[in-house]
């Protein structure tokens, strides 16, 4: 009977229990995950096509095993689709740093992240950087952070101001591009340019995430066939509402979520 064990094809006897398979492949394992679910020790029988993961706590796996075990809580078929994806992110601030983290944790294979800016103290209330990274280009710090939790996501860090002209070449080959800028007019200009230069790509933009309005007022809207907007559409940072990690993060996580849905064939809305 064919199954997958720690991400590799394996064969088990038809009447074997999960515990018996564990004893055979990894008797020291503390955690058993079967088809994304943590399974208690027991005598459940393995079924054809099961994805089984046996994990030992306190032991660092080699790189090949780490890549497999990292995605044990995601369906294998979807992880494969995410790994082959190339996603662009315009801006590496409050939105972009969170979008990038979510996509890298899910195992998106390639991220092209572009931002001209250096990290300064007022970024730290919402952007996923550290005090030690102050003064560093945001794209380089983000690439470093991603390597620290998922070294299998390749990051193309572009330390440049994105313009209506250079976004054509920088994001070529990206099937999906996230707009993660701060200024309203730059958002409008870059979304227009991205739609023009990359008519086949999905654009996932954000608008309306400032202040302390309800998190649940942030929605995903399909504006056109290939343009999604996440936000409450009205809460404007230029009105002095302030920007908080919690609410900016909701919008950014929703942007990342739309991207993961699109990559795995789920209709976002």
């Amino acid at each position: 009977m064919k199954v997958h064990i720690n991400g590799k094809a394996g064969t088990v006897e038809p009447d074997q229990t999960i515990d018996e398979v564990r004893m055979q492949y990894c008797p020291e394992a503390d955690i058993t995950i079967r088809n994304c679910i943590i399974s208690p020790p027991g005598h459940t029988r393995v079924a054809e096509g099961d994805a089984l993961y046996f994990i030992r706590k306190g032991v660092a796996p080699d790189a090949d095993n780490l890549e497999k075990l990292l995605y044990a809580r995601q369906p294998d078929a979807l992880t494969g689709r995410l790994k082959s994806a190339r996603v662009g992110i315009v801006g590496a601030g409050g939105l972009g740093s969170v979008v990038a983290e979510n996509l890298a944790r899910a195992g998106v294979g390639k991220l092209v992240i572009a931002d001209f800016d250096l990290i300064e103290p007022s970024n730290l209330n919402r952007q996923r950087f550290t005090v030690a990274q102050l003064g560093t280009p945001k794209v380089d710090a983000l690439a470093e952070n991603i390597r620290s939790f998922n070294p299998f996501t390749a990051v193309d860090a572009v330390h440049e101001r994105i313009t209506a002209e250079n976004c054509r070449q920088i994001f070529s080959g990206c099937g999906i591009i996230a707009e993660c800028l701060d200024s309203a007019s730059e958002k409008a200009a870059i979304v227009t340019a991205l739609r023009n230069h990359h008519p086949e790509s999905f654009i996932v933009a954000a608008s309306g995430l400032a202040g302390l309005g309800n998190g649940s007022s942030i929605k995903t809207v399909k504006a056109t066939a290939r343009l999604y907007i996440v936000g409450d559409m009205t809460s404007d940072a230029d009105q002095g509402l302030g920007l908080f990690a919690s609410r900016v993060g909701i919008a950014a996580s929703m942007q990342a979520h739309v991207i993961i849905q699109l990559l795995t064939g789920v209709e976002p809305c």
Partner: protein, 67 residues
């Protein structure tokens, strides 16, 4: 003139015959919008020259700041 704006049919004055005029009529900041007419993306420097016609389908995405 009868046009469709963001999925809703709207009647606008016949003098509202360009993107620039329409955004002014709707009281929307042109610089903060992305506009498509009948599926075609309209660049900001073409807003004034892009003529609107009866029956056009227009998508207007109006952005606010923050990120």
């Amino acid at each position: 003139m009868l046009i469709r704006i963001n999925g809703r049919e709207e009647t606008v004055p016949d003098t509202t015959d360009t993107i620039t005029a329409l955004l002014e009529f709707l009281n929307i900041q042109a610089r903060q919008t992305a506009v498509e007419v009948n599926g075609a993306v309209i660049e900001h420097n073409s807003f004034a020259a892009t003529k609107l016609h009866n029956g056009d389908t227009i998508e207007i995405v109006s952005f606010v700041g923050g990120g």
